[in-house]
Symmetry: D2
Subunit: 283 residues, 4 copies
């Protein structure tokens, strides 16, 4: 079913829901899904509607024009998108294939509702896997002594492929601040620990050293602060004294790819709203 | 925060949300929480609102009068309740104390928002525990040869204590059909298996025999069909070959009390709607 | 580290551990891992050792000869295997790719310690995916009116490829009794429900109808009784009223492939012992 | 079944298992359970046996005398205990009752195999609950300006009641270093976060601020380093944007009491061995 997805955040007050649902009813909009969240602490209100596209008398542009006065009245941060227009997702990887292979396979069997215009990697190892899926693969090596040219090329490729969203599928390089700013709220990373535990490098080694009984993974938006961006999804798996670091890495991979796939799905379906370095996820 | 909880189920069509939210906006009702569910298969629409009571100009009775025309227009099954009016929950138990003790303790520390007018049990073992909490305890033994008098007394006690809801906290007796009918949608049971696996007696023994790797518990509304009523909540815990039936019983108890406490909480907060032997749970 | 894996089941009595560990110590065998299980109900004892191969003065054949008298003395069912000799696993699939792709990828990145001599499928859809991995693909269609020729060919292929083990990665056909018998304890299936709930066809539809709050998957050995063989591994995922059957199918796929991958790993590492239609899994 | 529990840690080498199991076989000791762990990183070996007491010709003292030469030969850190001798556990609490009530109830229904000689609390609130269980309650207020006298009294009470083990069931006071040292490896704490995330005060507030999607609890041995001692058990529960800090506190309580109860059970059954600030837990 084709829907329009209307996403709204605004200061909370009486009458928001009535105003919006009145607007929709006026145009005979059939609400398929609706979610609300009133955040007491910040005093903000969040709202997501899925409206059957065929019940409405206008296209996206018409919707935007008609809705703008209401949005202005309530000082809304808002967007409306068409479920039939697939988001363009650029995947970035390094040598580890588990997250990339998982996303490619989900896309291949039509489980991930997006287009993947290309994959960018700092190593060439995964080229064949990507190309089997009919997706262009760009090898952009990163010179540790001068990373700038590589990231300029990465940025150029992202722009050239008109990406709506970038996924760091275990890319293993830290994006420079200017890229973080440029694509704010549009770059999704998977960190291989249960943040805020074990920020930075080699989290499984840190976990083994600390003797934790659960390890995890965190899917989050990238910000300039390393591993500190808004969290979309997390998950954990049990470990024990029997597990070596290698076992943790192996079991962790399953958690990483699951958390990333769920987080990306939420993003693609416009279910995630960022506010104050936290997320509202209408799952 | 005191709220009115408005619960609605009706055949799905355009304009329901607008009508209801308009109604609320007309009276300056401040929506604190709102949840919707459109069930494609049955064509029904479900809705739950929490509205700040102090934002509305009327009491429950006034609300009901004002809302009735809308409810009739849309053929709604509906109710409105006041969060400040605690539901009256009669607990029923047998000899096993884990579920009863858990509920009593949650109530004692104000975590369960209800009144417990009395506990009814077919054995006298748990009297002292109940009475320590200042709650009347009724011992109603069930004669296996003639159960009718006991259930007549149970029914009389439930009515006398004006129960809104009855919880079978491992009561271990099957309620007769007439009681199931009389208190339809108001009797909550905890079954010690992951239904529909292991219906009936001794589910942990059945589970051990089958060699399952997870055991569970199911919180459900009681109907005349044994262990077949609408499911509110389920949970599981991992077991292995090392676990004897006694271990399963012990670990299962933790799952039972957790699933029951969560299910009861949903019921008390008017989050559960029954439809077609299934539940919509607005958690 | 190369190890010999010694797996033993026998009637329980005093002195088994001493006898076996004495035997190992006599030959300076360095025990890397050891697990024991004494099953009170059946009176059987189960044991698994991993011994460093380079600490022993003999090869597998020498081990077998030296150990046989002890095995006979204690009426042991036993086997010893060499971790350096990879098991040969034939995968069988139909049209759904999620389990197959997952296993192939784990094998591809050296996470599954086995050889995959071929994939057999009753549809041709997954040929390209399999062949990209450099693995022969056999399309053996099953004629619903006369399935015998297809299963004869399947059996011939399994034998020709000297399979130690067969994995039904959502094969969607019921193996005939003679094949079940011939490969007893060596055919692993993934059933898309939390057995014993929802045996047979379309378990997610059954689950949706029953309104369960968790769905699951079961990895088990195939026997002549449909979906009733010894369970190796199970897992579940939470669902709600918001999930349609399609959502359950999608979420279920993740549970299926995880449960299957874990179950197969246990089997490949000789961690699973079958007894009385149940399993001991030394994880 | 009454058993002797033999717990051993020593540098790894060939022949340990043989030596120990030979010793047991010599005296016709019937091994009920046995667990081994060879830690590659540290080069240590860990071992736990449960031997049927009635199969052995000596009591604990006799066992110790007979086994000492072997222990010396292999430089073992070891102990043997009698399952029939219940450990004496002093519980310490403050105002929050959830962990205390949970442990008391488990003890009351014979699920926790220990004696509870007394409860010590820095507030008097929980006296009645404790005394209903027939357990002495000591109110030892802690003067924030001079905590020393209180902790001297706490130490005196622990000694007077001959505690084998102390459980901080949300005691909310930091034990002074001398007490940590005096009862090293014998004081179990429950921290209300998934360590090492959110060390210190108000972890749920920290979690809400960071916007995590799972919260947890950690059961660990107390050391002089705050919240940094060896972890015995951890668990988590999912939260979302809908959960306020109050909701997190409530849901967290369930995780806290479960993690503490499991961790304490492991300790009581001599399943936990501490090494290098980590634990081996033979569950």
């Amino acid at each position: 079913m084709r829907t329009f997805r209307l996403i709204i955040a605004c200061p909370d007050r009486v009458g928001i829901v009535a105003k919006v649902s009145n607007f929709l009813a006026t145009y005979n909009g059939w609400i398929h899904q609706a979610s609300h969240h009133s955040d007491e602490q910040s005093g903000w209100f969040f709202m997501r509607h899925e409206i059957r596209a065929d019940s409405l008398p206008f296209d996206l542009e018409g919707f935007r024009q008609a809705f703008t006065p209401i949005a202005n009245e309530f000082s809304m941060t808002w967007q409306v998108s068409d479920s039939a227009v697939k988001k363009r997702v650029v995947l970035m990887a390094s040598r580890d294939s588990h997250c990339l292979a998982d996303l490619l396979h989900r896309w291949h069997r039509n489980e991930l509702d997006c287009e993947i215009p290309c994959v960018i990697a700092n190593h060439d190892d995964l080229r064949s896997m990507v190309e089997w899926h009919g997706i262009p693969f760009y090898h952009v090596p990163v010179d540790p002594k001068d990373k700038q040219p590589a990231f300029a090329e990465v940025s150029r490729l992202i722009d050239e492929h008109e990406a709506d969203c970038v996924v760091l599928a275990r890319y293993m390089q830290i994006l420079p601040p200017d890229l973080c700013q440029k694509y704010q709220g549009r770059v999704i990373n998977i960190h291989h620990s249960f943040l805020p535990s074990f920020v930075g490098a080699k989290p499984y080694h840190q976990a083994a050293l600390r003797g934790v009984k659960l390890i995890g993974a965190t899917c989050h938006y990238v910000t300039e602060d390393l591993d500190a961006g808004p969290i979309i999804e997390q998950d954990v798996v049990r470990v024990s004294h029997r597990d070596t670091v290698a076992d943790m890495v192996r079991n962790g991979k399953d958690v990483e790819k699951m958390a990333l796939a769920r987080g990306l799905r939420y993003h693609l379906e416009d279910r995630v709203m960022i506010h104050d370095n936290k997320t509202v996820v209408f799952d």
